[in-house]
């Protein structure tokens, strides 16, 4: 009820009708998994450096149609963050302007649900660009895999008398679910691994 109201309010605020499709029900049942690398961890101050998104269709992750975006930087990327994601200032020279890049991202996701790990942060980064430009925030439904993972772990562990202590770090989840680490802190790899976590958590056998 509240969601519906918020959606229609967002829709009215949309400044550019070309992005109307964000509010339409998608024709397929694909999900989109995405991840960003940024200049830091503060969504109010820091900027996007790269963004990757892959579609999940059934049991398949369409890596062959992945979206990989690099953002042009108007200020130098802090050294600390370069050491994390390995994207140098040099590597962003061919990058797109934030609006151009996010426009491609919006075309890619359409109205599809978004899947991610601590998605709130990534969505906030995107919202910071589209809020002043389109007047809205990302309206897509979201699936937070750390929540899903916690719920499952809780369901498994609460049967015992042990007090659950669930490690929600990305590394711990990967290890627990036996997903190969393709190399972390690369937006594409993170999106791919997140998608694998999602598939594994939704696998039918697991719940039984």
């Amino acid at each position: 009820m509240f969601k519906q109201w918020r959606l229609s309010r967002q829709k009215k605020r949309l400044k550019d009708p070309a992005f109307q499709f964000l509010f339409e029900t998608p024709l397929d049942e694909d999900l989109v998994c995405f991840d960003c690398e940024t200049t830091g961890l503060n969504p109010k101050k820091d900027r996007l450096v790269s963004l990757s998104a892959v579609k999940i269709r059934g049991q398949c992750i369409l890596t062959s149609q992945a979206l990989n975006l690099t953002f042009a930087q108007d200020q130098a990327i802090p050294e600390g963050s370069i050491k994390v994601h390995m994207i140098r200032n040099l590597d962003t020279q061919m990058g797109l302007s934030p609006q151009e890049a996010i426009s491609q991202f919006l075309q890619f996701i359409g109205g599809r649900p978004l899947v991610g790990y601590y998605l709130e942060f990534d969505i906030a980064m995107v919202n910071r660009i589209i809020q002043p430009w389109l007047g809205i925030q990302l309206p897509n439904p979201t699936i937070e895999i750390s929540e899903r993972y916690y719920d499952q772990k809780w369901a498994q562990q609460s049967k015992t008398m042990m007090h659950p202590s669930i490690d929600l770090s990305f590394q711990a989840i990967l290890e627990d679910l036996a997903i190969p680490n393709f190399g972390q802190h690369d937006a594409f790899n993170d999106a791919l691994m997140t998608a694998l976590i999602y598939l594994k958590l939704t696998e039918p056998n697991r719940k039984s």
């Binding site: 398949c60 890596t63 998608a195 056998n205």
Partner: protein, 615 residues
């Protein structure tokens, strides 16, 4: 950046790893990642449409089993392997897959796969049978190592111009022609016989020592028959022929006729490395201690040749030829005072007799003297000395004491025959082993006819006692292949490591099985490859299977040799185990396919000799 992972993955998957980076990148960009839960079933189809499943799958993690239309399990795929090619290439009509362990895979659309398999680097992989695959692996190893003179062809060496004359040509004319071409030998053609060769030394001797007239014909001086080598043969085969026949020259032939003369000194110039020198050093040795250095050189040569990717069969041929020369030389050096010993016959037996021993693991030898002479005086002392000398040179003693120093293996011909008949009449496993070892014997020094007579006794007895063969063939079926029905390696029990006894489970069944067939069909060759060839000629083995068997034997021997070289480098005593985990996945696959060939061969042996009836 984002395709790096897929690229790295493809770099580890044979045969895709042979493609250039440009092609690999294109494949990497076409890959999707798929996740399958435990128990998921899938089929791969040949046509591409939204509902169909026409993809090649690469396993990143997990295990997938493959079943055919009759629900038989055909294979299990694990990390860094791929499946679906058989369907996509229309080699199979139906295959079903089941996820044995939840799996993450890459999948590649059929169209992309089909576009890339036409690249020459990988094309062969998908169309060839196991023989071609093995040859390709060999070629790859050879290409990776720098080329070496030893592996060069005869065409790489300088030849002398071929001078051909008829047997009626005068000595004078012959010398004139040789001078004109600056060569020191010429081929002499006869009207009726096969051609021969005349060298400058022959002519000199004829003129100076036999006082022949310069106008007399050269025909009588010719040495026949002509020993030739094909122009596309390996240089080391040319060297082998020269050592074997003690020649300085070989006539080079092409498919159309004779083309030139290869001189040993030219050949040595090309080699200018140990192998050639080893032969000369053996020839020149004056004392046993001179030979010590040669033994070390032979060992280095083995490692060197193996690194060059020379087939183990050829290495074994070369090394055994050198070893025999060495043993021969030792015998000659020790027997200087006892010329009567040359009337007897020194045998090398077992793996040495088959020319299949590359790393010296033991010595099996025997001595026969003719019934016409009494036991040579001091024979026992001489043979003890002989065995000790070989041991000192680095031929380890035989654990079963099958050596000339054991009086059981040093007898006159009739006693030897009687002993053989006793073994055959009252066989025990140990006696059967002795018969096997003797059956592989080859003469190294002295009268070959003594050995032939002894072997004839064996053939005659087996002909008259066919019930013997099933017992002789029994050991072929004794050891199971170390691959279980799921296609996994059977792990070594106490250690839990995946190490397999390649000799017991792979090499031995082939060698013993082929030996049985050779005994049954009266084949006198001793080398397993030559026996296989002879069995193919007799139509006992069909052409394809014979080749497969030979290649599998070669491959297993190579793996064994490599493991032994590693052990020698670590200063351990070489054994027959290989660590499966240290093999690449292509090597493991080939080995598994090899064990399938061994299994088929065991069935054939069981069928031929009705072995199951005596088990």
């Amino acid at each position: 950046m984002s395709y790096q992972q897929a690229l790295n993955f493809l770099h580890q998957v044979t045969p895709f790893s042979s493609l250039d980076d440009q092609s690999l990148l294109q494949i990497a960009q076409a890959l999707d990642v798929v996740y399958f839960a435990l128990g998921t079933q899938l089929e791969i189809t040949q046509t591409e449409s939204s509902k169909q499943n026409a993809y090649l799958y690469f396993v990143i993690k997990g295990h997938i089993a493959e079943y055919d239309a009759d629900q038989r399990q055909r294979a299990v795929y694990g990390h860094n392997t791929f499946f679906g090619d058989a369907i996509l290439l229309k080699k199979e009509r139906f295959l079903r897959y089941e996820v044995l362990e939840e799996a993450i895979l890459y999948r590649l659309p059929q169209a992309v796969f089909l576009a890339f398999i036409q690249q020459p680097e990988i094309e062969g992989y998908f169309v060839d049978d196991i023989v071609t695959k093995l040859n390709r692996l060999q070629a790859q190893v050879q290409a990776e190592a720098s080329s070496d003179a030893l592996m060069g062809g005869v065409t790489d060496a300088p030849w002398q111009t071929l001078v051909e004359v008829s047997s009626e040509t005068t000595i004078r004319s012959c010398v004139e022609q040789m001078n004109a071409q600056q060569t020191d030998a010429c081929v002499v053609h006869f009207e009726t016989e096969t051609p021969g060769i005349v060298t400058a030394i022959d002519l000199l001797n004829a003129l100076a020592l036999s006082a022949q007239d310069v106008e007399s014909p050269v025909g009588v001086l010719a040495n026949c028959p002509l020993i030739t080598v094909h122009q596309f043969d390996y240089l080391f085969n040319a060297l082998l022929k020269m050592t074997k026949y003690r020649l300085n020259r070989l006539v080079v032939r092409s498919d159309d006729g004779l083309v030139g003369i290869l001189h040993q000194k030219d050949l040595m110039n090309v080699f200018a490395n140990q192998s050639g020198l080893a032969v000369i050093k053996i020839e020149q040795a004056q004392t046993v201690s001179d030979l010590q250095a040669v033994v070390k050189e032979i060992d280095r040569l083995v490692i060197h040749l193996n690194n060059r990717g020379v087939k183990t069969h050829y290495i074994a041929k070369l090394v055994n030829e050198l070893h025999r020369k060495l043993i021969q030389k030792v015998f000659e050096l020790l027997a200087v005072e006892q010329p009567e010993l040359h009337q007897g016959c020194l045998l090398v037996m077992g793996s040495e007799g088959r020319a299949e021993q590359v790393i010296r693991t033991d010595q099996d030898n025997a001595f026969i003297w003719p019934d016409s002479i009494p036991k040579p005086p001091g024979l026992g002392v001489f043979m003890d000395n002989f065995s000790q000398t070989l041991i000192a040179l680095g031929f380890p003693p035989c654990p079963g004491n099958i050596m000339v120093s054991n009086s059981q293996w040093c007898l006159n011909l009739s006693d030897f025959k009687q002993q053989l008949r006793d073994w055959l009449n009252q066989p025990t496993p140990e006696r059967l082993m002795k018969v096997s070892i003797l059956f592989d014997a080859e003469a190294v020094v002295g009268e070959v006819s003594l050995l032939q007579a002894l072997k004839q006794t064996l053939f005659n007895w087996v002909d008259a006692n066919q019930h013997f063969l099933p017992h002789f063939a029994k050991p072929v079926l004794m050891f199971d292949a170390p691959v279980n029905f799921l296609g996994h390696w059977v792990k070594d029990k106490p250690s839990g490591q995946a190490k397999i006894d390649i000799k017991k489970t792979g090499i031995f069944p082939i060698v013993q099985g082929v030996r049985c067939l050779a005994l049954k069909y009266g084949i006198t060759k001793t080398n397993t490859h030559w026996r296989i060839k002879a069995l193919m000629d007799k139509k006992v083995l069909d052409e394809t299977f014979g080749f497969e068997l030979g290649e599998v034997l070669n491959y297993m021997n190579t793996l064994r040799l490599e493991a032994m070289i590693v052990q020698l480098n670590c200063e351990k005593t070489p054994d027959n185990f290989i660590q499966v985990t240290q093999l690449s996945s292509l090597q493991q696959d080939l080995l598994k396919e090899g064990f399938k060939v061994v299994a088929r061969f065991k069935q054939l042996i069981d069928h031929q000799f009705k072995v199951s009836s005596v088990l």
